[in-house]
Assembly symmetry: C2
Homo-oligomer: 320 residues x 2
Amino acid sequence: MDVITVGVDIGGTKIQAAAVRNGSVAGSHRVSTPQTGANDLVAAVGDAITKSLAETGADVEDLSAIGIGVPGAVDTAAGTVSNSPNLPGFQGADPIPLAKMVSAVAGDVAVKLDNDVRVAILGEWKRGAGRPYRNLLGVWVGTGVGGGLVLNGELYGGTGAAGEIGHTNIKPGGRVCSDGRKGHLEAYAGRGRIEAEARERVKDGQKTILFELMEKKGRTRLSSGIIATALERGDKLAEELIDDAVWALGVACASVQNLLALEAIIIGGGLGDRLGEPFVDRVARQMRPQLFVPEAPPVMLTPAFGDLSGAVGGAVLAES
Amino acid sequence: MDVITVGVDIGGTKIQAAAVRNGSVAGSHRVSTPQTGANDLVAAVGDAITKSLAETGADVEDLSAIGIGVPGAVDTAAGTVSNSPNLPGFQGADPIPLAKMVSAVAGDVAVKLDNDVRVAILGEWKRGAGRPYRNLLGVWVGTGVGGGLVLNGELYGGTGAAGEIGHTNIKPGGRVCSDGRKGHLEAYAGRGRIEAEARERVKDGQKTILFELMEKKGRTRLSSGIIATALERGDKLAEELIDDAVWALGVACASVQNLLALEAIIIGGGLGDRLGEPFVDRVARQMRPQLFVPEAPPVMLTPAFGDLSGAVGGAVLAES
């Protein structure tokens, strides 16, 4: 009999679902993230699940389980989410029973939750670019910078909050990070902090086409696409900020490699995906002279599933 | 029947053996490390093994296995050592078959090798301060700074050279490290680099009793004991250098904690042991405000076996 699972990647702007039949993606569906609270978000998740299943010719009665990657503090055992800064309805300290709520709108099927970045790494490790490896770091460069680890052939969770490579201190007293502390990787490589730094520099009189491009696109934020376009057009400020991001990722990845002697590092996330292989190659070149064993550098990879990694990982989580 | 193993910790200045009967240390012996090559070193290891066994009333015929921790590049499968900067006879790039050589002088008993710091962590994890934990970092602050990890309840090796926390980049462009690169933890916290920095500052005219104490003791190096004595006497330079070491350890431990969400961190090694709990407490206070989850800091520990950790770990390695 066919085994059908659905994986869902919940982000601050979009919800991506993938229906997986016997290990292969057979359908997928994306919806915008409602900005109106937990109930509307759960309804949208249910909708994405149903529509991704419909693409495969199946419905929720054929479904064996659902796996969800979600940003914030996830209690995997309880199936709850709290402290998720960009997810309306889940921003508070009170744990919201997301697993139970999704199950209720999806035929009472079993639902597993885990941290979004960790779930994306799980997808890439089991089905994507990370398949050959037992010791693997994923660095997800998006609005923030998150991480996930596979160590000794197991997804690594530590006491719960493992993977926060974005909060590696790479320059004491350096740029302010999203958590208010200084000099973290995320302060240099996260899209949100890159945007904040760009706004500061424009205030100080530096010229750039970044905000012009943003307005032309009718956006209020410097998306990864806008940053990439500015880079392609030789915008000096965009180049400086991405140079800093490459430098910061090189420093942090080198320190982690010296500690963990990994086989491979995957760089993904919104900004990572958009800048792609040339960006990852630059990080690799930045990192290499800093390695304690330079003759055994980790293989540097991009995600095989791009921005579907999270949804595929959710399906893997559902199968486990 | 009794199970008797011997663990040996080989260092640049001393060789420490411990005979363990049914899991408890029953005898130990320490000899100076011969500075005259591999054969003399192996003979000294054989001597330490025999004498530690004799203390228990046993001899090599009662011995089930030997485990050795050794600095340098260790091939655990082949039982060889190379590139060990402070071990005469093992400094070259050619792997020397230490396991086989020790077995030949110890009744052909099976001999296992691993990196000295990793073996010490193994001892503390299985028998010492680290017993309650499944996710554990050991930071060994000696002439250099080494590390070892227990993750998901297993000793972690990565592709072989895991644990080099001393080469975490904590201050880009900072002090020169033993490996020639700049700004590493070891450049601030390793005894060797602390000594080099002290010599520089004396050249620049700074006053200190460090080198006076060294001469009085008839030494040519600033041992951990000399540094500790200078601190106790309120020597300003010693205080500044140890303040820097505490700061550097706090930065590096915080970054690792943010990535790995560990349960505990053990700080040991020659300098760590000598400065003891007050030093570890200072590192804990330095680290804590830098944690991403400050309400779940790792337990900060000193080694239960002090400088016997390595030999006890060797015995555990032998049992495995």
